[in-house]
C-alpha cells in the first residue's frame, strides 16, 4: 500500500500524457456543453434572428478549410505525379478526416433539429448551395474514409487480430488515384461553395460577390497545407523516432508561401473594387472590416500576420530553413485563415441593411458567443487535436520512411480472393 502511494506520489506524467489529458478534459467539458445544447436547444446560445450564424459556423468553415490539404496534396501525388509528397498526403488525409468530422459535429450542434440531419440526403434542393455543400461534404467524408483506410489497415493491432480485414483496408491504396480525382472534384465544388453560401445572398451586400468562392478555396489550400506541414514538424520534434523528410516539408512550405501570394492578389482586387462608388450596405460592410470593429482582426490577424509575414518567411530560403520560423509562419497562416472566416461571417450579419423605403439606412448589431457556445466549440477543436495526436502516436500518421508493406499486401490479397 505504502509502495503504491509512494509510486503515485513520485509519478510525473510525461508531456504527452499532460497534453492528451488536457485535450481530453476540454473535450469532456465540450461534451457536457453539447449535451446542454441538445437538451435545452439553441436558446443557450447568443445567436438571434439578426445574427443566426456565429462561432459554430466559423469553426465549421475553418475545420473544412484546414482539411483542404487532403485534396490538394492527394491531387499533387496521384494526379500530378509528385510521388515524393505521398507521406505528406497521408498526413493531410488523416487531418482531413478529423477536420470533416469536426465540421459535422459542429453542424449537428448548429442546426435546430439535429434529429433531421438526414433530410438533406432525402429532400433535395439542388438549387441551394447549402444542399450542394451538404452532399459534397458527406460524399467527401466517405472518400476520406476510404483514403485513410490504409492508415488503419497498417496498424499492428489490426493486422494481428484481423489480418484479412487489415489487408483489405491496405489494398484500398490501389484506387488512390481515383479517390484523388473524386476528392478533387468534390473539394473544388464544396470548398468554393462555402464561400458561395455567403456570396449568393443579395440581402447581404458585403457578401454578395462571386469572389468569395475563389477566396475561400484559395485560402483553404494555403491553410490546409500549412496545417499539415505544421503538424508533421511538431510530431517530428516531439518524437525523435518519427522520421520526416525535411526537403518535402520545405518545398510544401514554400508552396504555401506562393498560394498566399495568389490569395493576397485576389483579396486585394476583391477589396479594392469595392471601394469605388457608395453601395448601400456594402460600403458600410467594407468599412466595418477595414476601419470598424473588425479592423484589428483584418489588418493584423488576416493581412499582416496571416499573409504578409508568412509570405516573407516562407519565400525567403534562409528563414524558411529555420524550423522555428517556418512553424511560426505556418501557424500564423492557420490563424489568419480562421480570422478570415470569422470576419467574413461577422461582417455580413453585424451590418444590418434596412428595407425601409425612405432611406437605405444601415444599422449595426453585436454578437459575442455565449459560454456554452465557446465551451462546445472548444470541445470540438480539442477533440480534433486529440484525434490527430492519437493518430500520430498510435496510427503512424506522420511517417516518411519508405513503406515496404504495400508490396506484401498486394501479393497476399489476390491469393485470398
Amino acid at each position: 500500500m505504502t509502495a503504491l502511494t509512494q509510486r503515485l506520489a513520485g509519478y510525473r506524467p510525461s508531456r504527452f500524457q499532460l497534453w492528451v489529458g488536457a485535450l481530453a478534459g476540454v473535450t469532456a467539458i465540450g461534451l457536457v456543453a453539447g449535451i446542454i445544447v441538445f437538451a435545452r436547444g439553441l436558446v443557450v446560445t447568443n445567436l438571434n434572428d439578426l445574427v443566426p450564424w456565429g462561432l459554430w459556423i466559423t469553426i465549421d468553415l475553418s475545420a473544412i478549410a484546414m482539411s483542404a490539404g487532403a485534396f490538394t496534396l492527394c491531387a499533387a501525388v496521384y494526379l500530378l505525379g509528385l510521388k515524393k509528397y505521398q507521406p505528406l498526403a497521408r498526413t493531410a488525409t488523416f487531418i482531413g478526416l478529423i477536420g470533416y468530422s469536426m465540421a459535422l459535429l459542429t453542424l449537428l450542434l448548429d442546426i435546430g433539429r439535429p434529429d433531421r440531419f438526414w433530410h438533406g440526403f432525402v429532400y433535395w434542393n439542388p438549387h441551394s448551395v447549402l444542399w450542394e455543400v451538404t452532399m459534397c461534404v458527406a460524399l467527401y467524408f466517405g472518400v476520406l474514409m476510404l483514403e485513410t483506410a490504409p492508415i488503419f489497415g497498417r496498424t499492428a493491432w489490426l493486422r494481428s487480430r484481423w489480418p484479412s480485414l487489415a489487408g483489405r483496408l491496405q489494398s484500398v491504396h490501389h484506387i488512390a488515384p481515383y479517390l484523388a480525382i473524386a476528392g478533387l472534384g468534390l473539394s473544388m465544388l464544396h470548398q468554393s461553395s462555402l464561400g458561395a453560401t455567403y456570396g449568393v445572398l443579395k440581402a447581404r451586400p458585403i457578401w454578395y460577390r462571386p469572389d468569395l468562392s475563389v477566396l475561400f478555396i484559395v485560402s483553404a489550400m494555403a491553410g490546409g497545407i500549412a496545417l499539415t506541414v505544421l503538424v508533421t514538424m511538431l510530431a517530428a520534434r516531439h518524437w525523435s523516432k518519427i522520421k520526416v523528410r525535411d526537403d518535402i516539408l520545405d518545398r510544401a512550405a514554400w508552396f504555401v508561401g506562393w498560394v498566399l501570394v495568389a490569395y493576397l492578389y485576389f483579396r486585394f482586387w476583391d477589396a479594392f473594387a469595392m471601394t469605388y462608388t457608395y453601395d448601400p450596405g456594402r460600403t458600410e460592410g467594407l468599412r466595418f472590416i477595414t476601419n470598424g470593429p473588425l479592423s484589428f482582426n483584418f489588418w493584423v490577424g488576416e493581412i499582416l500576420f496571416g499573409a504578409v509575414i508568412p509570405i516573407l518567411i516562407l519565400l525567403r530560403e534562409r528563414s524558411r530553413r529555420n524550423p522555428v520560423l517556418r512553424m511560426l509562419a505556418l501557424g500564423l497562416v492557420v490563424a489568419g485563415i480562421v480570422a478570415y472566416r470569422w470576419d467574413t461571417t461577422m461582417a455580413g450579419q453585424l451590418v444590418v441593411v434596412s428595407y425601409l423605403p425612405q432611406e437605405l439606412a444601415t444599422r449595426y448589431t453585436t454578437y459575442v458567443p455565449s459560454l456554452i457556445e465557446i465551451a462546445s466549440g472548444l470541445g470540438v477543436v480539442a477533440y480534433g487535436m486529440l484525434a490527430v495526436t492519437l493518430g500520430i502516436r498510435y496510427l503512424g500518421v506522420v511517417d516518411h520512411t519508405p513503406e515496404p508493406e504495400h508490396e506484401a499486401v498486394a501479393e497476399r490479397v489476390p491469393a485470398q480472393a
Binding site: R40, G41, L42, V43, T45, L47, N48, D49, L50, P52, W53, D110, I111, G112, R113, R116, F117, H119, G120, Y123, W124, N125, P126, H127, S128, V129, L130, W131, V133, T134, H174, I175, P177, Y178, I181, A182, G185, T197, V200, L201, K202, A203, R204, G348, Q349, V352, V353, Y355, L356, P357, Q358, E359, A410, P414
Partner: protein, 256 residues
C-alpha cells in the same frame, strides 16, 4: 499487382461527362427553382395603405392570437418609417411572399416552398433549422424557434383563438398570409379578401382598413383595383424579389 480495369483516362472521361450532365441538369432546374410549380387560378397579394396605418399594432396582436405566435416573435411587425407633414408614418411588415424568394432558393431541404398561388410556405416537419433562409431574407421576415413555446399566449382569447398548431423548437417560421383561412374559405365557397372568415387575420383586425387582401389574377378584385388607381411601391424593389405585398405611400393631405 494487376492493372486496374478502368484506366485513368476512361475514368476521367466518364467523370467529366457525368459532371457536365449534372451541371446541365442543375442549370435547367435553376430557371424555375424559386418559382411556383403547379397551377392555381389565384395570385394572392396584400396592399397596405401607409396613409391609413396609425401604428396601433392590432394586426400584430391578431396575428399572434390566430397563428399562436410566441411572445418575443412577430410574424407581422409594425415599424416606424419616417414622417410626412409632421405625422409619424408606420410600415407594417408581414412576409413579402416574394415571387423570386431568396428563402426558397437557399433552403437545402425544400422546407421553404412556393405554392402555385404565390404563397411562400414553410414545411415545419421538414425544416432542419439551419437558418440559412433567415440569413438570406432581405426583409427579416423570419423567426427561429430558439426555444419551445409552452406558456399561454397573451393575445388569446382577446384577439382571437389559435387556428394552427404551435411550431416545435428548432424550426424557422414566418407569416403565411393565414393560408389556413384562405384554403378553408375557398373550400366553403367564400372569397378571400371579401369574406372575413377567408381573409388573413391582420386584414380583418385592422381598425382603419389600411390592409387589403385579394387576388391579383382577378382584375376586378379589391387589390387589383387599388393598385390600378394608386401609385404604389414595394420594399427593396432593387433586389428583384418581386414581393406580393404592395404599399400605398403616405400622403400629406390624408390625416388618419
Amino acid at each position: 499487382m494487376s492493372e486496374p480495369r478502368l484506366n485513368r483516362r476512361t475514368f476521367l472521361k466518364v467523370l467529366g461527362a457525368g459532371a457536365t450532365a449534372a451541371a446541365g441538369l442543375r442549370t435547367l432546374r435553376r430557371a424555375s427553382a424559386s418559382e411556383a410549380t403547379g397551377d392555381s387560378p389565384h395570385r394572392w397579394a396584400m396592399v397596405i395603405d401607409q396613409s391609413k396605418c396609425t401604428g396601433c399594432g392590432y394586426c400584430t396582436l391578431a396575428c399572434r392570437a390566430h397563428n399562436d405566435v410566441a411572445p418575443g416573435m412577430e410574424w407581422n411587425t409594425v415599424l416606424e418609417s419616417g414622417q410626412v407633414a409632421g405625422e409619424q408614418v408606420y410600415l407594417p411588415r408581414p412576409c413579402m411572399h416574394c415571387e423570386q424568394a431568396p428563402c426558397v432558393d437557399v433552403c437545402p431541404v425544400k422546407a421553404s416552398v412556393h405554392r402555385a398561388d404565390g404563397i411562400v410556405m414553410m414545411d415545419y416537419d421538414r425544416c432542419i433549422g439551419c437558418r440559412y433562409c433567415e440569413v438570406a431574407c432581405p426583409y427579416a421576415a423570419r423567426s427561429f424557434n430558439w426555444e419551445a413555446f409552452t406558456g399561454r399566449n397573451p393575445a388569446v382569447p382577446r384577439w382571437g383563438e389559435p387556428e394552427v398548431a404551435r411550431r416545435p423548437r428548432g424550426v424557422v417560421e414566418k407569416c403565411t398570409f393565414c393560408v389556413h383561412r384562405i384554403d378553408r374559405g375557398l373550400s366553403l365557397g367564400l372569397t378571400p379578401g371579401v369574406d372575413p372568415n377567408a381573409t388573413p387575420a391582420c386584414v380583418v383586425a385592422c381598425p382603419t382598413g389600411a390592409r387589403t387582401f385579394g387576388d391579383l389574377a382577378d382584375s376586378e378584385s379589391n387589390v387589383s383595383k387599388l393598385l390600378a388607381g394608386h401609385s404604389w411601391f414595394r420594399l427593396r424593389e432593387d433586389l428583384g424579389t418581386a414581393p406580393r405585398v404592395y404599399y400605398l405611400p403616405p400622403r400629406a393631405e390624408v390625416t388618419p
